[in-house]
């Protein structure tokens, strides 16, 4: 219960932002940040809770973006139906990649490399196949109506992505309190020991992959609706695989708020650096690298872990004099 209150408080605080500012720059920054947080939370379900580090979550992000774009542009399907189809398609791609990789018994770096390879294959296919617009990409027609999942005001877009992030936060919290979650974490900690206790490691990992892929696909679909454009380098490019894994690692793997906190910090640092130095290409990547090194060196459990440690430290320090006073 306590943690649902925390989620509600964080979401309510973020929901108040459009009331405080009408700046499109701020809102645009937050929309993109939350979109990355959503993709990162998808990664976090599989990587953070399940310990299966994927380097290819672009496969799901791109699938989410392309499916809705293709359905709308080529088949005239409603954007909200496209949104649901995107999530389902992401789940299917997750089931296929997960089924093959886990059935083959791939773990740790081998799993990471195979997911990277799948994402790259999809990127190359998307850049040559006519239905995905090949090298040109797909433009979604501008139609600023709610039934087309497009909004005049950035504030509405912001609230929509915030709602999606809220759902992802609640999913992570429910996972932590469920049998499936306990088994998933057990597989992360020690797969053989988990199997000895009756955990079907393959089924648990596959389930996590499907859930993870569906959430990241939702982020991809949102990208397509927000920017109304998708091509192979955006949808299936390594950039989103990197951002999806960096944000939870920096924020705190296997925690409810890790991906959200990580996305806010990383994006704020990236934007801050751009303000100071102008638009130097690749600078944001250098910042990611530097932050990642610092976090892994000084806070291996991420920012959430570091905050918890500091809180525990001060609480212990506060209790010590009190205890001494009581004894003395």
């Amino acid at each position: 219960m306590k943690s649902f209150v925390a989620i509600a408080a964080v979401v309510a605080a973020l929901a108040a932002v459009p009331a405080l500012t009408h700046s499109n720059v701020v809102l645009n920054f937050l929309v993109v940040t939350l979109m990355i947080a959503l993709a990162g939370q998808g990664w976090n379900i599989l990587g953070g809770y399940g310990g299966q580090y994927s380097f290819g979550h672009a496969a799901f992000f791109g699938t989410g973006a392309y499916v809705t774009a293709i359905l709308q542009v080529r088949y005239g399907v409603n954007a909200w139906v496209g949104f649901a189809a995107s999530i389902a398609a992401g789940a299917v791609v997750g089931a296929i990649i997960g089924g093959l990789a886990f059935r083959a018994g791939l773990r740790s770096s081998y799993f990471a490399l195979v997911t990277l390879a799948f994402a790259e294959v999809l990127r190359i296919l998307a850049s040559v196949t006519p239905i995905t617009g090949a090298g040109v990409g797909i433009l979604i027609k501008l139609d600023l109506r709610a039934q087309s999942f497009q909004f005049q005001s950035r504030a509405i877009f912001y609230l929509v992505i915030l709602a999606l992030v809220a759902v992802a936060l609640v999913i992570a919290r429910l996972l932590e309190r469920s049998r499936f979650g306990a088994w998933l974490i057990a597989v992360r900690e020690n797969e053989d020991a988990a199997m000895a206790l009756g955990v079907d490691a393959f089924a648990v990992k596959l389930g996590a992959m499907v859930l993870s892929a569906a959430i990241t696909a939702a982020a991809g679909c949102f990208y397509a609706q927000y920017f109304l454009f998708i091509d192979a380098a955006i949808g299936y490019g390594p950039w989103i695989s990197i951002e999806a894994l960096l944000t939870p690692i920096i924020g705190g793997v296997g925690t409810v708020f890790g991906a959200l906190l990580g996305a806010l910090v990383v994006k704020a640092l990236g934007e801050g650096a751009k303000l100071i130095t102008g638009d130097v290409p690749g600078l944001d990547l250098m910042i990611y690298g530097a932050v990642l090194v610092l976090v892994i060196r000084f806070a291996p459990r991420g920012l959430v872990g570091a905050v918890t440690d500091i809180y525990d430290y001060f609480r212990a320090a506060a209790q010590k004099p009190a205890a001494e006073a009581a004894n003395g």
């Binding site: 088994w183 199997m195 206790l197």
Partner: protein
């Protein structure tokens, strides 16, 4: 006659050129403690891995509850009530003791509250009651062995395969854990234990199987096995039994 809960028939398991287990057979009835002893490298842990589904034998069958379960994966055997512990303890290091036991308890209890209650009960039973909220990696060797036992117990097994739960413990720790193991059998669980600590194994077991170089060389009550010349030779070397007889004569 009713078939014992576990019947292992003529198991052979080969790793490349090494025949780790060579035609081993044993059986274990409910509510009894069966010990599997033997010198280092005899193939005891390999035999356990075959029984619990982690390895597939080249030859032979494992029968459990009257059914052939050879090669069934470990998680499915655990659901049927056959659970093993590991010689090299495998705690979920990043979790607390309670969360560790919870994983086992979830096998029979889907609801978190019921599983938590079960975990707490089992934790207290094996003597980890005070340590439930400690991270598992802070436990001593004795604590980890207890945790290994608790996790397995939380799955409510019918057959428990204990791989050296006493190894690495000091005599007073052994005295503490022995009654826990004995109480499992009185509860009706079939216990099969691999053990190096001879004294404890001999005092606990109802029946002993001796494995040497992959073969079962003796079986019987602890007293019978201890008097068996082949067993003495397997442990102390060729000719040892004759020498011992010789010293007795003089």
């Amino acid at each position: 006659m009713v078939e014992p809960l576990l019947v292992v028939e003529n198991i052979s398991c080969r790793f490349g050129g090494l025949l780790a287990v060579n035609g081993a057979s044993l059986s274990a009835p409910s509510a009894r403690i069966t010990a599997l002893i033997g010198p280092n490298g005899a193939g005891k842990t390999t035999l356990f891995a075959v029984i619990s589904g982690f390895l597939r034998p080249n030859v032979g069958r494992v029968r459990y509850c009257g059914e052939d379960v050879t090669g069934e994966p470990p998680h499915r055997l655990a659901r049927r009530g056959m659970v093993r512990t590991f010689q090299i303890v495998q705690p979920f290091a990043g979790l607390t003791v309670r969360e560790n036991i919870l994983v086992g308890a979830h096998l029979r209890h889907r609801a978190r509250d019921a599983a938590l209650a079960m975990a707490e009960q089992v934790g207290c039973e094996v003597g980890l009651g005070e340590l439930l909220d400690r991270p598992a990696h802070t436990l001593t060797v004795a604590g980890r062995k207890r945790l290994e036992l608790a996790r397995a117990l939380a799955t409510e097994p019918k057959l428990l395969l204990l791989d050296e739960v006493l190894a690495g413990l000091n005599p007073s720790e052994i005295r503490h854990i022995v009654p826990t193991v004995r109480s499992l059998a009185t509860r009706g669980i079939a216990v099969v234990m691999i053990e190096h600590v001879m004294q404890a194994a001999m005092s606990l077991a109802d029946r002993v199987f001796v494995l040497a170089e992959g073969r079962i060389i003796a079986e019987g009550s602890p007293a019978e096995v201890a008097a068996d010349a082949a067993v003495v030779e397997a442990y102390l070397g060729h000719g040892a039994a004759a020498k011992m007889r010789g010293t007795n004569v003089h």
